[in-house]
């Protein structure tokens, strides 16, 4: 079963997305921030990481960098509800940091499932 590490600080959103992914047949490992996600990934490298970008403690870009440090070949989907870092769009920066795909929040089930399929297929 394909495993997905799902990182989001928003409990409600994370629970919703975890439910959607499970229903779609994925094994979901939730993490509520970047630090927790890094620890989990170090213990168990999942097939895919879906991470939010703006989070307290350790934000998404740093999380991506650390996870890629553990496994440079990791497949990552970055998602964000918007926001900027200086003049740069987080999602664009996330791509630079190594995210395979980026997706705007909110999204429909179809959108996210499509993105996952695409990320895993690449």
């Amino acid at each position: 079963m394909t495993t997905i590490l799902l990182v989001d600080d928003d409990d409600q959103f994370r629970s919703m997305l975890a439910e959607v992914l499970r229903r779609a047949g994925y094994e979901v490992q939730p993490a509520c921030n970047g630090s927790e996600a890094t620890v989990i990934y170090r213990n168990h490298q999942t097939d895919l990481v879906i991470t939010d970008l703006i989070m307290p403690e350790k934000e998404g870009l740093e999380t991506i960098r650390e996870i890629r440090h553990i496994n440079p070949a990791v497949r990552i989907i970055a998602m964000s509800g918007g926001g900027r870092n200086g003049f740069e769009d987080y999602l664009k920066v996330a791509k630079v940091f190594g995210a395979r795909l980026v997706i705007d929040k909110p999204f429909s089930h179809a959108e996210i499932l499509g993105a996952i399929r695409k990320a895993l297929a690449a």
Binding site: R23, G81, G82, G83, F87, D89, D104, P106, F107
Partner: protein
């Protein structure tokens, strides 16, 4: 002296003459007496004929030296006896017997009768040689006279010499002094006086007189000096006055401000009621002085043409603002500072002035007033421009604030929306196909998606970062957007697109331009949602000249691409027009629009150094013009030479636009093209001008949308007056009046605003025909 001599001589001569005469008389009398005595003596001798005795008696006469002869004649004439001193015989004379005494031949002869007893016996005659006696006496007398005269003269000389010392000397001294005084004009000179007699008194008197004259002279001198200094003072005052006058004239003449003086034929009593004062102003006020600047404000060439103008001719007494200004003047004690005045000149240009008016009040009467007008038209226009810029700045700040806020909340908002949308989908999945809640969940999803769209808008609005700019060919981008619009707009809306395939490229972000087109198109479709209509899209390139650039603060002279998006929808009312680019401003029903579409368009256009303008007519439609600067490098490569501008040949054009800046702009453009232009902002006024000078205009260009009389109505009336009149109707909105209708009225050209000098020039040429003046 000579006079005395002559007088004396004359007196002496008179005396001598008198003496001679009296001596003769005396001698005659004496001789007569002697002759009588002798006659008496010889009576006897004769009686007795005693000649000897007679002779003796006669001889006794020798005692008298003077008697030269004596003789006695008888009655018979016989000489009885005779005596002669010298012995010579006396010659007998015929008249010797006449009894008389008379001078004969220098001798005195006295003849007396000898009478005895009453009978005359004869005569006795004595002859005296008196001449010698008289001569001797005369000689003596002459000598005496000479001596006397000489002596008298000598004495007189001596006396006069003495007298001169006593009298003439001081008088001559006095005369010399007087002469010296008169020749030297020196009244301090005094005559010397040592005598205490009359001359002394005279000299004292003279000196006293000099004293007085000197005092008077000094007084005169002093008076003269003070007069002189007075004159000098006056001259210098006059000079100062003249200089001041010159300065004042120069100041007035060369001032860039209008300076003028209002005089009242009769001073105005400041105590009479206000309305009477106003009447007085209009009745008696006139312009007594002004400079050329003032004259030009009132459409005259120079001050001379203006001076003398009645106040009533300068401000219309019936107009409320005229009365208001005068009331203000009276109420502020005849002093107005920085009052604003508006005037439309003969060319229809609006001009604004600040004026000061200062009245001169003497004894409770206003006699005159000085006024200064300072033109502030430019400042005013600049002020309007600045206000516009400030409004734009405020809007930009507002947008930025909203952007920042939006960026901040979007993240959380999207998480929330994500949860809502996601769980709704999950819930729907769990429901059976026929479950009634599915429809409700579908509504939740729809609302969620609307919220999502809103947040997207907010975010795109907040994305202020510099997008990657690259040369973009606009035509495909617009076409792409139109394709999407065609797919989404209802079939009641027709889309007409004219995209110049040669349109140049801009430097920009195609995604953003795409969004601009989409937003404008969506807005247009909303405006036409009720009745359908036409969405017209045009893409053309234009040259913005300096005049055209003035119409929009964001435009600079240069080459631009113009994207025109026009609809035939409900239009935007004027009060809303100013706010349409504000974020969250919407005229749509709540929930129908985000209020961000145009704000986003505005932001994108601004980020592309472009400009956007809007023209709308309620019930007719709206036109947006987006100007985007052509990419410079591309611009240089463009071989598409700008067409030569068609210039005029001094034809007279009547230009009508109710918006003063646009009227001024049109006038300026047309004048640049070589036409003579009369501009009006009021269509009724324009009609008046035209009816008064119908044949003086070669062409009329009028705006369509104007209060009181629309362009088409104005054109109809003008064409009634002059059916051959070429008229160009300018409209900011393409479907306001259709070409067929325009043609039926007799309008030669329809022109879509805004216009460049080139489009205007070409339209005029078409309307006037190839032969120029009034074909």
């Amino acid at each position: 002296m000579a006079t005395s001599g002559v007088a004396l001589l004359l007196a002496c001569a008179a005396f001598v003459a008198y003496d001679q005469v009296s001596t003769r008389r005396w001698l005659a009398s004496d001789l007569t007496s002697q002759a009588r005595m002798v006659a008496t003596s010889v009576e006897a001798s004769i009686a007795f004929n005693d000649r000897d005795s007679a002779r003796d008696i006669l001889s006794s006469l020798h005692i008298d030296q003077d008697i030269a002869q004596a003789y006695i004649c008888m009655q018979t004439g016989e000489r009885f006896a005779e005596y002669s001193r010298s012995g010579e015989v006396y010659q007998q004379a015929e008249d010797e017997q006449l009894i008389e005494t008379r001078f004969v031949n220098g001798n005195l002869r006295a003849t007396q009768p000898v009478i005895l007893d009453g009978e005359m016996l004869g005569t006795v005659s004595l002859v005296s040689s008196v001449e010698a006696h008289l001569a001797t006496r005369l000689r003596k007398q002459i000598i005496t006279v000479i001596v006397v005269v000489l002596g008298s003269l000598l004495v007189a000389f001596l006396i006069s010499a003495r007298l001169q010392r006593v009298i003439s000397g001081p008088i001559l001294h006095l005369a010399d002094t007087a002469r010296a005084v008169s020749t030297q004009k020196d009244f301090s000179i005094r005559a010397a006086s040592q005598r205490r007699d009359e001359t002394g008194t005279l000299i004292d008197g003279f000196n006293e007189m000099l004293e007085q004259i000197q005092a008077r002279d000094q007084q005169l001198q002093q008076r003269n000096n003070s007069l002189q200094s007075e004159i000098e003072k006056r001259r210098s005052i006059e000079r100062a006055l003249r200089e001041s006058e010159e300065r004042y004239r120069a100041l007035i003449a060369e001032s860039s401000e209008a300076i003028w003086r209002l005089e009242l034929e009769h001073p105005l009593a400041t105590t009479i009621p206000e309305e009477e004062q106003i009447t007085h102003f209009f009745q008696h006020g006139y312009l007594a002085e002004c400079n050329d600047v003032m004259a030009r404000i009132y459409d005259r060439d120079c001050a001379d043409e203006m001076v003398g103008t009645r106040l009533a001719a300068m401000m219309v007494p019936s107009e409320e603002h005229s009365l208001e200004s005068l009331r203000a003047f009276i109420r502020s004690e005849y002093r107005l500072i920085d009052k604003e005045m508006h005037r439309t000149d003969q060319d229809g240009n609006d001009r604004y002035f600040l004026y000061n008016l200062s009245g001169i009040v003497e004894n409770n009467h206003l006699v005159r007033a000085w006024g200064i007008h300072r033109e502030i038209t430019e400042r005013k226009q600049a002020g309007a421009m600045q206000a516009k810029l400030e409004a734009q700045l405020r809007q930009a700040q507002k947008m930025e604030a909203i952007g920042t806020l939006a960026g901040g909340i979007a993240h959380d908002f999207n998480n929330i929306l994500g949860a809502i949308i996601g769980y709704t989908e999950l819930a729907a999945l769990d429901l059976a196909e026929e479950a009634p809640s599915r429809a409700n969940l579908a509504e939740v999803l729809k609302a969620g998606n609307r919220a999502k769209a809103l947040v997207r808008q907010i975010l795109s609005f907040s994305r202020q970062e510099e997008h990657e700019r690259k040369p973009v060919q606009l035509q495909p981008v617009i076409e792409e957007a139109l394709k999407l619009l065609r797919a989404t707009l209802p079939s009641t809306i027709e889309i007409r697109a004219t995209l110049d395939p040669r349109s140049s490229t801009i430097l920009g972000d195609p995604t953003q331009i795409h969004q601009v087109m989409m937003n404008l198109g969506t807005n247009a479709s909303h405006a036409m949602s009720e009745h359908g209509g036409t969405l017209e899209v045009k893409l053309t390139s234009i040259d913005v000249d300096s005049i055209f650039a003035q119409t929009h603060a964001d435009l600079e002279p240069g080459r631009y691409l113009r994207l025109m998006v026009s609809d035939t929808g409900c239009g935007i009312d004027n009060s809303a027009l100013d706010r349409i680019f504000e974020p969250f401003f919407t005229t749509k029903a709540p929930g129908a629009g985000t209020g961000l579409g145009l704000a986003v368009v505005h932001g994108v256009v601004k980020r592309h150094q472009g400009a956007i303008s809007v023209y709308s007519e309620q019930g007719k439609g709206t036109t947006f013009n987006v100007y985007l600067p052509v990419h410079k490098v591309e611009d240089q490569q463009v071989v598409d030479e700008p067409k030569a501008i068609v210039i005029g040949n001094g034809e007279r054009i009547l230009f009508v636009d109710d918006e003063a800046p646009l009227a001024a702009l049109g006038k300026s453009m047309l004048e640049r093209l070589g036409y003579r232009v009369t501009a009006h902002t009021d269509s009724l006024q324009a009609l008046n001008t035209f009816s008064a000078h119908a044949n003086e205009f070669d062409l009329v260009i009028t705006d369509q949308t104007m209060p009181s009389l629309s362009g088409a109505e104005l054109a109809k009336l003008m064409l009634k007056i002059r059916p051959d009149l070429p008229v160009i109707l300018a409209t900011g909105y393409s479907t306001t009046i259709n070409p067929e209708k325009a043609k039926s009225i007799g309008i030669r050209e329809l022109l879509l605003k805004p216009n460049t000098t080139q489009t205007l020039g070409e339209a005029i040429r078409r309307a006037l025909g190839p032969n120029g003046k009034n074909n």
